[in-house]
Symmetry: C2
Subunit: 84 residues, 2 copies
Amino acid sequence: MKNFVRIPRDLGHAIRQARLEKNLTQADLDTRSGVWQEMISKVEAGRGGTKLDTILALLAALELELLVRTRSKGSTSDIDSIFG
Amino acid sequence: MKNFVRIPRDLGHAIRQARLEKNLTQADLDTRSGVWQEMISKVEAGRGGTKLDTILALLAALELELLVRTRSKGSTSDIDSIFG
DNA sequence: TACGTTTATGATCCTTAGACCATATGGAGA
DNA sequence: TCTCCATATGGTCTAAGGATCATAAACGTA
């Protein structure tokens, strides 16, 4: 599993995907991440500006890791058209 | 450039590193990301729980990309991920 | 060392994330 | 259809993020 994150929703998708792959309910994830079920629902749907800490807690609980790296030349993004 | 992000400070480091490589001041980044210089200072230092949106704006402006993926079993230490 | 630039702090005000409880909605199965 | 379980919504309250301005501290360098 490897996904790019450009907008919050991307993260939400990755999180939901990983959670389902592990057969966990949002309540389960709540328990092991310390993030409330209601919050998880929001995050997965990409609703609201979640804090980094919350995201990291969820990723850790799902055994997902986050990476930053220089954008590969091929990848497109709106910023290209603005500052390219 | 490729760094793992486990705690907010990891992101801060990556951001500062990328900014300096591009010879940008925090004020420059402010201009092109829309994120205030004061906020950038905080983020780079890993102080405070920044919102995902703020982070994504900075990464986009620095041409960095964020990825989520399942944690590799040979999970490296922080040191490894930074200097590996 | 004094100046100019860059980065860090501090204060205020407004907005919102997050803790928390309750409930509504949605889906799968008996 | 009626239950169960899962997920989404909604409200309250508090702590904190973020916009913004001003300034202090740090760093280079002439």
